[in-house]
């Protein structure tokens, strides 16, 4: 049984590590907005060590507005959105009064993890191009996502891509059902992690891996709280 405080702390540590990875890429890699990400890295170390977490989270939330302003939105779309959602939910959980308000803020994050998978699957499954495998063929044939030109050859394997499309859609739309049972939830999270790693390998979307993993403790806690009655 995962307690509220343990889940909160686990999420803080995972988020701090994800932000440190992101900041290192900006400071030493792309060398873009280095001073902004230097301060995010410093605050992430504070969060990792757990000193004055509520104040650190508040400062990081305010600082996130500077980064949003610098790039006129999230730098890396969905992955950055999840990172910031985790940050804001953690901040609210630390600052709201004990009891239901605190739990609601953290539970909202777990709820959004479920919604993120379900909505992604739902919008695909109602699209004919996704159902017949054409969408994934398009992704490999002309989108900017494949990390290497050699991967474009996969566009010429329609049966494989049809099967992959259905595997992704079914996993995503059925994900909410896994919430009802502890064993299926753990397996769904393992599959989810593998899914994000595959996306990182094929499309270079590495930040999704770290931010979604950082949100998983909130979902496990929500399951314990609502289904197991913890």
């Amino acid at each position: 049984m995962l307690t509220f405080e343990s889940a909160l702390r686990a999420t803080e540590i995972l988020l701090a590590l994800a932000f440190l990875q992101q900041s290192a890429e900006h400071i030493f890699g792309s060398r873009d907005a280095r001073s902004l990400f230097f301060w995010r890295a410093v605050m992430s170390i504070g969060l990792l060590l757990g000193y004055y977490s509520e104040w650190t989270l508040l400062a990081m939330s305010a600082h996130s507005l500077l980064i949003l302003n610098r790039y006129q939105g999230p730098y890396n779309g969905g992955s950055d959105r999840m990172g910031l959602l985790i940050l804001y939910c953690l901040c609210l959980s630390r600052w709201l009064p004990e009891g239901l308000p605190k739990e609601a803020a953290f539970g909202y994050l777990g709820f959004q993890v479920i919604v993120s998978y379900f909505v992604s699957g739902q919008v695909k499954i109602i699209n004919r191009d996704w159902r017949n495998g054409q969408a994934l063929q398009d992704v490999f044939s002309f989108s900017t996502y494949p990390v290497a030109e050699s991967l474009r050859a996969l566009a010429k394997r329609p049966r494989l891509l049809w099967a992959a499309s259905w595997a992704v859609m079914l996993f995503e739309v059925l994900f909410p059902l896994s919430f009802l049972n502890s064993t299926t939830l753990i397996w769904a999270l393992v599959v989810g992690m593998a899914f994000h790693v595959a996306n990182a390998c094929l499309f270079g979307l590495n930040r999704f891996v770290w931010f979604w993993i950082a949100a998983y403790p909130s979902l496990i806690w929500l399951h314990c709280r609502l289904v197991l009655g913890g």
Binding site: S30, L65, S116, T144, A200
Partner: protein, 146 residues
């Protein structure tokens, strides 16, 4: 201030509609010109994808992927320009092209730069390429003012 807060609102209420449809995909191309009058002779692809990435490289990129993430940001900027050619996105793309030009083995400081956005999509008979944006012609070096 309100504009900045408007960036944070979609974070709190996200839509999560990843890959709903596969939209036309942007390519950034740049060209160097000797003067602002002549036509562009050759367009160069900005940050070509490598031909092959090994399994080990894929694993390492889980932890260290700044170049790719920066290129994904350029894709976002190109998509924003397609919607509305905002100066911020144009500046972000131009800045990165200029930065990459400095790594070329020849001097480009006396040249002029122009870039364009070509969107690729599936047409009736194959892939189609459409130029949707052509930038102003600008110097490759910002003049120093006293």
């Amino acid at each position: 201030m309100w504009k900045t807060l408007s960036f944070a609102l979609p974070v709190l209420f996200p839509s999560w509609q990843f890959f709903k449809t596969v939209e036309p995909s942007p390519r950034v191309q740049w060209a160097l010109l000797s003067d602002g009058e002549g036509d562009v002779v050759e367009w160069n692809e900005f940050r070509l994808h490598p031909l092959k990435v090994t399994a080990l490289q894929m694993v390492l990129r889980l932890f260290w992927n700044p170049y790719r993430n920066d290129t994904l940001f350029v894709v976002s900027c190109a998509e924003r320009i397609q919607q509305f050619p905002d100066p911020h996105s144009i500046h972000e793309i131009r800045r990165r092209i200029l930065s990459d030009l400095r790594k070329l083995p020849f001097d480009t400081t006396d040249k002029l730069l122009q870039f364009r956005l070509v969107f690729v999509h599936r047409g009736e008979v194959g892939l189609e390429h459409e130029v949707v944006f052509l930038s102003d012609i600008t110097p490759t070096v910002v003049p120093v003012t006293c």
